[in-house]
Structure formats: structure tokens, C-alpha cells
Symmetry: C2
Subunit: 331 residues, 2 copies
């Protein structure tokens, strides 16, 4: 059995390009007792993967040159020597960026039988969904009376954050980078959407949208978004720091906001977190999110690229704003 | 009875100067029933007062032009028509920047009879001391195993933070702006002192002093200090944001650190706080700090200017690094 894999060819500086990746065909060995052969049907591309392409002391080890990349994927067992994962079982796994792979089962999770499309488990009811839910409820301790500002509101995480903050009773303002995305976020029922590329003064736009001030800023972007949010935050505001995508591809370090003193004078809390610290709460999350999805209270927004050979384009597209909702590759 | 007062003549831009202040003599009326006449003996100058000299939406209203300034002071009751505050009583008050004043008692607190010099109640066992204690124990949840980095380590707050973190069992690294201050902080028993004006690379100096990484960064300064601290913080590190003195006199906004993404990847918490939210814990603090002071476990570092006419120099001196420990004016 062959497997087609995407390897890291070189470490990107600045925006990644096709030249940083290569496609490699490998032959898989015969299955051993306890092993299964999985054929991936969906894979995820996520902004955090950019961080693994450089060497740093981050929370996960960097990808290695000339090795296959990793990431979330959904697959189907097509050969099995492991009773726990029979042929036909659908599994979520972290062996994306390849068509097939062999596993001893330790890194596989059977998809919960909740009657949702497979690919939702890479998005709204998977890692990005849990990331948004944790940031709002476990980090920011969201209250129904909060006014919430969400940057990258049309992204995989942001689109979940907007919807569940609205369900919680909050006023929600989203920021996006195109009118098309603004339409998508408006359709989710948020109270106001800012196309940051069309406003001269993001602080003023935010003040106009939230004259009462912001209580929770869900931070996906950094830079000018953080500066504007700090300006408009209310005292004791909370800022769950999920990511700062504006910084991921910076070739030279970009200066931060000039108004960080407001953290002190407004008694703000910025808290960085990563979703892997909260996987033990995935069960609670799935129960709540599965219910919302089935009731139609949350919708899954997805942008789909087709074929493993489109995976690099899909990944680069994340930083070019090409996705609405979750960016997926159908293999 | 006359009172000499310092008024705000104009709002400073950048570093304050004598021209922003003026001395005014006023005649006080006769006492009414319930009132006392207080003669101030000590007054405090503090960096936070700079913030009140401009118009902003800060946590306390700005000083008014052509009105007397305010701030912490210690005085003695010299005339009384209020049984609660008899002649001779020593009171802490917030009517600094003047020689005498009339009060109905509602803004006066009798000095606790714990056998300490009066002026300590403006410093180590007053507002700056409580600020340090709250930041470490209530905000950062200090643990004995923490390595703590303290900026402005020789200041009124920083010098308390260094000493009580050591008492708690922590490894402590201080940053100061002169060799003389470094000697003072070393004498307090900290593990390492960095004179930031003498190092080319503050991050490297901090790494050298704390190869194990920093768990708590007590933020008094901002700018390059925050950037270096973020670089050397350990995962789940805590940053109580007490102030950012580097920003107080900036005529144009200074860009912030370029490495704020580390808040996410290292899962850090930055929490701004102001001491006035914690006055209800002053009793607990006084008990502990009073004991430490009497046992000689904490020493009070003080720089004293003499006479109300030196008060503006003392205040400006805060931003020129002229104080070791608490900056005080003996009236």
C-alpha cells in the first residue's frame, strides 16, 4: 500500500510558499498484530501549524525537515488487526498531510456517533470549536451581560466564538477582512461587523459599534486589533489570547501596541491558553455543541479544497484570508 | 491659620517641570463642630500621580488646573472639635501637597499603634507596601518555588516586592538603573541584580541570572523590560501589572514589545490591578508587615526631601531615578 505525504522541504521565512513543501510517495509495510490501516478522508489546515515550521521553544516540537507534516484529520479504517477499530470505523487522528497511514490505535479516537458530518469534527465540534468554547467559558468566564469583540470573526475559531457568545446572551462585535466575510458573520446574528480593511480608525469603529465598551476581547490577531481593543475595553475586561495571526509570518518582529499601560489602569487580564490543556473537557463540549448543532443554533462554516495536492494552497490561503470558517481539505 | 499648597498650574507634556506647578498661600476658615485642623509632617510623591495630571478615563479623576494636588500624607491633629481625633493624634490622609488642612475626619485614619516610624505608613507599610504584597500574593498567587523578576527593584514598591518574595522562599532577580541602587538591592538579599543601563541585551542578562526561567514578573516599567521578561518567562508564568513607568512621560506613544505572541504560546497571564481595590485587606497586610518590620526581616528604604518647597523636585526626581526606596517629603 502506498501513501502520499506532504513533507517540510525547508523552513519558511515570512509567508510560506510551495517551495517549502514537497510531495513524497512512500510504501507502507504490512500490518502487524494490533495495527490498523487508515485512509484519510478529510484533513485540517490550521494557523498554529505555521509555528511548528520554525524552531522555537513553543509548546509543541517543531516539524522536522524532510519529514511528513502532522495535523488533525478524519479517516476510515480500511484494514484492521485491532478489534477496537474494525474496518469501516471512522477515526479522528493527528496524522494529517497524508493519504494513508498505519497506527496501533493509540493516536486514534472513534468519531462520536452524534449524527453530524465527519468534517465537523475538524472544525465546529473539533479542535477549533473547543478552542473558542474554552476561551469564552473557561478562560474569560463569559457572562451574558458581556459585550464581546471577536477578531478574525469569520475564521474557524472566530465563527464559533461569535455564535456561542450570542447564544449565551452577549452583544457580539466581529472584525473581518472582506465584505463577503462580513456578510457571513452578519448572517450568524452578531450585532455588528467591522471590515477592518475599510476603516481608517479601528478604535473609533469599535467605539461606534460598542459605545458601552468591550468586556471580553477574543484575541486571534494581535497588532492593531489588540491596540483598538485595549482602547475600548471596560475596567476589569478579560482578553483570552488564543493567537496573534498578524505575527505568524512577520519576517522582522513587529512592534506591539503603544497603549499597554491600559492593562494597568483598566485592571485588564490577558490570558494566553492553548486548547491541548483542556482536552479533558472535550466530552462536556461535545455534548453541548452537538446539541446546538442538531438544533440549528450553531452552523458550521467551511471552506473546502479538494485533494492532498491542494493542501499547501489551503494552508497558505489561511494567511491570505481565503477561508470563510474552517479551512478543510477533502482527500 | 495659613496653609501653603502646591497647585497644578498647567498639564505637563512629557517630563513634568517646575513650570507645571505653583505654590499658593491660602487662609483656612475657623473650625466648625466635628472638624479638626491637621498639620502634615510627611507627604508622599508617587509615580501614579503623573497619570492624574492629564485628562484621561483613568480610575481616578484628573487633578484640576489651579487646584491643590492630592496624595498620601501623615499629619498631626493640632486643633480639634472632633472627639475621634484629639489634638496630638497622628493621622494618615490623602491631603498631601499642603502644610495644613481642615477635615471632618471622614478622610482620616489614625496611625496603627505598632511602634513604627510615622513615615513608614507612606511606604513599606502603606500604599506602596500593600501594592507589592497584593501583586505577589493576591494577583500572582506567589509560590515559594517561583523565580521572580522585579523591575524598578529599588523603588518604593519594588524594594518591598524583592524582600517579601525572598521571605516567601523565592529566587529573586531585580533590575535597577544605577550601581548604587544595585548595591542597595543586593543588600536586601536578592539573588541577582541587573543594572539595565549597563547591559546590551536585557534578555540575555535575565537568562544568565535565571537560566531556569522566570515564573513571576512584577511589572513596574514596561517597554524593554516587558519584552525581556516575556522572552525568559516559563510556561504558565504570571505578570502582575502594577505600572509601566517607562510610558508615563512619553510625549508620543512608544511601541510595545514585539513578542506579545509569547503570551499565547507560553500560556502567560498578565493582570493589571490597582491597590485601591484591595484596601479591605490592609488589616491583614499590616499585621504581617508590621511583624516583619519589627523582626528586622523587612527594612524600609527611604529617600527624603525636606520642605514643601522641595515636593515638586521630589516628584520629578521619581522619573529621573533619584529615589532609592520610597520617595518622601518631610514637611
Amino acid at each position: 500500500m502506498n501513501s502520499q505525504q506532504i513533507h517540510l522541504a525547508s523552513r519558511p521565512t515570512g509567508m510560506p510558499s510551495q517551495a517549502n513543501f514537497k510531495t513524497v510517495d512512500v510504501t507502507l509495510p504490512a500490518l502487524q498484530e494490533g495495527e490498523v490501516l487508515v485512509k484519510n478522508t478529510w484533513m485540517s489546515v490550521d494557523p498554529y501549524m505555521r509555528g511548528r515550521m520554525i524552531v522555537s521553544d513553543s509548546y509543541i516540537p517543531p516539524f522536522q525537515i524532510d519529514e511528513v507534516l502532522e495535523g488533525g484529520a478524519i479517516g476510515e479504517v480500511i484494514e484492521s488487526m485491532n478489534a477496537q477499530f474494525p474496518v469501516g470505523a471512522k477515526v479522528s487522528n493527528i496524522s494529517g498531510w497524508r493519504t494513508t497511514f498505519i497506527s496501533d490505535g493509540s493516536d486514534l479516537t472513534l468519531l462520536p456517533a452524534v449524527g453530524l458530518p465527519d468534517q465537523h469534527f475538524l472544525g465546529v465540534i473539533g479542535m477549533p470549536g473547543l478552542t473558542g468554547w474554552v476561551g469564552l467559558f473557561k478562560v474569560a468566564q463569559l457572562k451574558p451581560t458581556d459585550t464581546v469583540f471577536v477578531s478574525a470573526a469569520s475564521g474557524a475559531v472566530g465563527s464559533v466564538v461569535c455564535q456561542i457568545a450570542k447564544l449565551h446572551g452577549c452583544k457580539v462585535i466581529g472584525s473581518v477582512g472582506s465584505d463577503e466575510k462580513a456578510d457571513m458573520v452578519k448572517a450568524m446574528g452578531v450585532d455588528a461587523v467591522i471590515n477592518y480593511k475599510k476603516v481608517d480608525d479601528l478604535t473609533q469603529a469599535l467605539r461606534d459599534a460598542a459605545p458601552e465598551g468591550i468586556d471580553v476581547y477574543f484575541e486571534n490577531v494581535g497588532g492593531a486589533h489588540l491596540e483598538a481593543a485595549l482602547n475600548v475595553m471596560n475596567p476589569y475586561g478579560r482578553i483570552p489570547v488564543c493567537g496573534m495571526i498578524a505575527d505568524y509570518n512577520a519576517e522582522t518582529p513587529q512592534p506591539g501596541p503603544s497603549n499597554l499601560l491600559l492593562i494597568n489602569t483598566k485592571k485588564l487580564t490577558l490570558q494566553g491558553y492553548i486548547v491541548m490543556d483542556y482536552w479533558d473537557q472535550y466530552g462536556e463540549f461535545v455534548e453541548q455543541m452537538g446539541q446546538w448543532l442538531k438544533e440549528g443554533k450553531v452552523t458550521s462554516e467551511e471552506t473546502v479544497y479538494h485533494g492532498l495536492d491542494q493542501a499547501v494552497d489551503a494552508f497558505i490561503g489561511l494567511f491570505e484570508g481565503k477561508n470563510k470558517g474552517k479551512m478543510l481539505v477533502k482527500i
